[in-house]
């Protein structure tokens, strides 16, 4: 199924604000490998809800501050304000 949205994230910024947390430290805290954190941060992999919530918990922010959904291409006319 083709997705008409993409998932963006602020992980790099959140790691920076969390005392320059390394990707390995984040990976250890959320129970995945460093390569998976690299893939999530590089938007090559969308994690499960469990991992996403664990990540938000580690940073102490709501999920929406870690991940956001952005539409791909032009918006349909009825979604315009």
């Amino acid at each position: 199924m083709k997705q008409d949205f993409t998932i963006r994230n602020n992980i790099r910024k959140l790691r920076f604000h969390a005392s320059e947390m390394t990707q390995q430290e984040l990976a250890d805290k959320i129970g995945v490998t460093r390569q998976t954190v690299v893939a999530i941060e590089g938007e090559k992999y969308s994690p499960s809800l469990a991992v996403a919530f664990r990540m938000a918990h580690v940073f102490g922010v709501p999920l929406e501050e870690v991940f956001r959904c952005e539409p791909l291409g032009p918006q349909p006319p009825d979604s315009q304000p």
Partner: protein, 139 residues
Amino acid sequence: MNLSYREKSLWGTLAVTMAVYGYYFGRALTGTHPAEFDAASISRVVAAVVVLVAIEVAYEIVLAVTSKVDPKDERDILIESKAYRNAYLLLVGATFWLMWTIVAQQMRSYMAVNLMFLSVVAAEIVKSVTQLFLYWRGL
């Protein structure tokens, strides 16, 4: 290139599989060979499998000593499941093709068994290649 433990393991498995079975099938399917799959044929298959397992075990030991061993996480499992799907599709396709060919060409047991073995090896290679591709490209 910064490869994970799992990618290094997959590259090793792929290289050893292709080298050992490439040599085996290069000898088994070319030149003169018996019509039936006899005891000597079985011993050659067993020898190939034993050599493959021995090299892989040695490689995994070296890798475990020199690299950080990470347990599988959800991304590894997802990539592995996609790789198994591709391998399964190839194996099913090859099996039906082989069943048809054995009947249509009245294939003798030596060639039939070796082609069946080849399709299993090909499925294993497809699995490893799919995993490496998905690790490289992302999901």
